[in-house]
Amino acid sequence: MHPILILVAQRLALGFLLLLAASALIFAGTSILPGDVAQSILGQSATPEALANLRRELGLNDPAITRYFAWLGGIVQGDLGTALTNGRDIAESLGGRLKNTLFLAFWAAIIAVPLAIFLGLLAVRYKDRWPDKLISGVTLASISIPEFMIGYLLMYWIAIKLRWFSSVAIINDDMSLLQKLDAIALPVMVLVLVVLAHMMRMTRAAILNVMQSSYIETAELKGLSGLTVIFRHAFPNAIAPIVNVVMLNLAYLVVGVVVVEVVFAYPGMGQYLVDHVSKRDVPVVQACGLIFAAVYIGLNLVADIVSILANPRLRHPK
């Protein structure tokens, strides 16, 4: 068997173990939080009877271990269970939220990744001249401002003053693609600004590192133009660190955007997860946690494989 396939298989197996460990950690974490789901559902208006009844109905009186394994048994059979708080099927409501999250992440990534890499290359080409400084300055500023602040600023100027786009980014299945894109324009802008700097800086640094090599000097000496040298000779050798950072940022776009979701009332997974954490709805938290962990592990796996493929020394081990 090809060594790369073996490696992928190993990584996948490890990934599953990691997921299992993550689910146990999430379960333990939600269990030690103060209060339980019954208390959270009924809130300040909870009477002792109502609490006791709800606890009994939701099966909260079973020991934690029993509940964990009952849940695990369901997962293995592909059953995520039902939410304790509103009795809805988790797979169904989570599915819609996950789709929305991926939709937003996809469009943010489609813009941010090529833009970041292009800006990074541009910064290298004009290293230490004004385009480099401008690009670095702007992206660093945008990463330094908290994302909710960028959100509010864009909301004020673009949604309220100019009225170009909507400040409420709620999408649903009845909307056409164009309507959806119109609705998510502002959150996409914010996310692009937030992830741009990290990827762009890494591209710049990785390529500058390669630019010191002697073969680059050779390429320059044989008369290639600046950008051709970067594209043809420097970029392929800088791909591994860039892919790593890109994957980290993609993962962030999927799992870390709850603040942006709240600001623009976007129906993604982050808000869904937070609501259920505060209600101690363990099955839903577990399901979300599992998906988030899977996204992280999956994207990191991709990053590893791409760096191996991009490096002939790793591709053909002795």
């Binding site: 559902i41 300040q44 009477t47 009877e49 109502a50 709800l54 939410a83 709620i170 808000q271």
Partner: protein
């Protein structure tokens, strides 16, 4: 003085004077802020008599919605589900804006002279959304579901005084173990929404008799409602063709949505920006003084709060006016260490107002013999908006009287399960109740589950029961007055302020009336208002 007040009121109605100016001027005439605020409720109502416009889509941006919400009235506790309930269902009776009762599913309400048996004559010819006719049996089943010991209903507590319920012809009959002149007010509780077969089979189906039917239900995102063509009271409610409740938990997002015209009304305008928002064209800020209040509660059975001198010291050491000015930005009124204000029927306004008094605070503190160790006050952002700042103000004003307070900031998450009603001294809030009896029974009766100040006085309980069965309002008012004074002077409640409900509304919305019962016209703005340009 009355002429002057009427003149001022007219100016407010005409829009040449703001509400805060009015309260200030009225105060100069010797009227307390609470009374002045409630006076404004009347002229505002007169402006609502324009003819309703039918049709259009009304959008409501509301905080207090989570993806965990359901349409089951029994489990409803936050604002968005409440908005949803008002669209879909109706109760037997409702508390009207002026504090009287409005008959809904009940056509008339009668009691025997001893106030122990209550008969609700059920309205005929009202249809549920599924086409079934609403019957007294449905009402009975609903009440049984909420009073079942196995129920998870938030109304279980108030159903406990009921001895038996039955259907008698067209009547739904309630028998009480002890007389209660306010029973119909209990039946107005928002949990007690009439559902087909009492909602026994599928309580979250959204099938009721309300002015709107459910179109889509995406908890934590949005809820859509279509006008119910079969609605029995179509002349008064359900003017718009379509309503959409959009969950906007973030205050800035909510304000932005209103400003950019994406929603027509929002709840919970941050008092800090209310004045600014009101200046925007096409937007009006509506505030109404209600019964909700922000409090600091002491367990009077736990040292050092078991000492009444220490309690009094703390009560004198809080600067109420400063709290109203700085925490509520004027959108509220000062409290008097009792949970009742002028918004309640039978309020006695002759009870003297307690004010910030450093000397008295120091004197009581000295008399209490407290050892001088810091008194720990627990607070959290979630206790009430501005609770952390309010605690800091309290610490400062107490410091001036030589009382050391130590603020312990708790996480929002778990505050209601771990701190409130558990720790001896903490910040909290109450939403208020439509009548005094209900407020006192909920939190100040010895046996109340939510007796969060551990106020257990047999003589107080006896007065409460006596007032409850007393049909002579003068006598009742006198008993309530005594109870209020008792709580004010000995209770564990420090009540610096009553908060207003502050909503933001587009000028395109018609039919707005002030309703002190809760925000967004007691959550009924979506079903009572209309769009002028529809």
């Amino acid at each position: 003085m009355n002429d002057q007040l009427n003149h001022l009121k007219a100016r407010v109605t005409a829009g040449t004077m703001t509400r805060r100016e009015f309260v200030g001027r009225a105060a100069a005439l010797g009227v307390t802020a609470a009374v002045a605020n409630s006076m404004l409720a009347q002229p505002a109502r007169a402006a609502a008599h324009a003819a309703p416009v039918k049709g259009g889509t009304l959008k409501i941006g509301s905080s207090g919605g989570e993806s965990t919400n359901t349409l089951d009235p029994a489990l409803t506790a936050s604002e968005v589900p409440l908005d949803n309930l008002r669209h879909l269902y109706e109760t037997l009776v409702e508390v009207a804006p002026d504090g009287t009762l409005e008959n809904r599913m009940a056509e008339s309400v009668e009691a025997t002279a001893d106030a122990k048996t209550w008969m609700f004559k059920i309205r005929k010819g009202v249809e549920f959304h599924n086409g079934k006719t609403m019957t007294p049996e449905d009402v009975l089943k609903t009440m049984q579901r909420h009073s079942d010991e196995n129920s998870q209903s938030g109304a279980l507590g108030i159903m406990r005084g009921i001895e038996s319920m039955k259907v008698d012809g067209d009547n739904f009959v309630v028998e009480l173990s002890t007389p209660n002149a306010d029973l119909p007010y209990l039946m107005a509780d928002y949990h007690l929404m009439i559902q087909p077969d009492g909602g026994m089979d599928n309580p979250g189906a959204g099938i009721g008799t309300g002015p709107y039917t459910l179109e889509f239900d995406e908890p934590g995102v949005r809820h859509g409602f279509k006008r119910n063509e079969n609605f029995w009271d179509a002349g008064n409610r359900g003017h718009t063709e379509f309503n959409e409740v959009i969950v906007l938990n973030d205050a800035t997002a909510r304000t932005a949505a209103l400003q950019s015209g994406q929603v027509h009304m929002i709840n919970r305008v941050d008092p800090k920006i209310a004045d600014l928002l009101g200046r925007a064209p096409n937007i009006e800020v509506k505030s109404v003084s209600g019964r909700g209040h922000y409090v600091f509660i002491m367990h009077i059975d736990t040292a050092p709060f078991d000492n009444n001198d220490l309690r009094l010291a703390l009560k004198y050491a809080i600067n109420r006016q400063e709290m109203v000015d700085k925490i509520l930005r004027g959108y509220g009124s000062i409290g008097n260490d009792m949970p009742i204000n002028a918004s309640y029927p039978l309020f006695d306004d002759s009870i003297p107002q307690r004010t910030y008094d450093v000397e008295k605070a120091a004197e009581h503190y000295k008399k209490s013999g407290h050892d001088g160790s810091p008194i720990i006050l627990r607070t959290a952002d979630g206790a009430f908006p501005g609770a952390v700042d309010a605690a800091a103000l309290f610490q400062q004003s107490a410091q001036a009287a030589g009382i050391p307070l130590e603020i312990k900031r708790e996480p929002n998450d778990g505050y209601w399960s771990e701190v409130w009603n558990k720790q001896p001294f903490c910040a909290s809030y109450w939403g208020g109740r439509p009548v005094q009896d209900q407020m006192y029974s909920t939190a100040y009766l010895s046996t109340a589950d939510w007796n969060d100040t551990r106020w257990k006085r047999p003589e107080f309980d006896a007065m409460l029961l006596e007032a409850r069965g007393e049909l002579d309002t003068a006598k009742r008012k006198e008993i309530y007055s005594q109870m209020g004074r008792m709580l004010r002077d000995e209770g564990g409640l420090i009540l610096p302020m009553f908060n207003d409900f502050v909503d933001g509304v587009s000028t395109d919305v018609g039919g707005w009336t002030e309703d002190p019962n809760s925000e967004l016209m007691n959550n009924k703005a979506p079903i009572k208002c209309w769009l002028k340009t529809a």
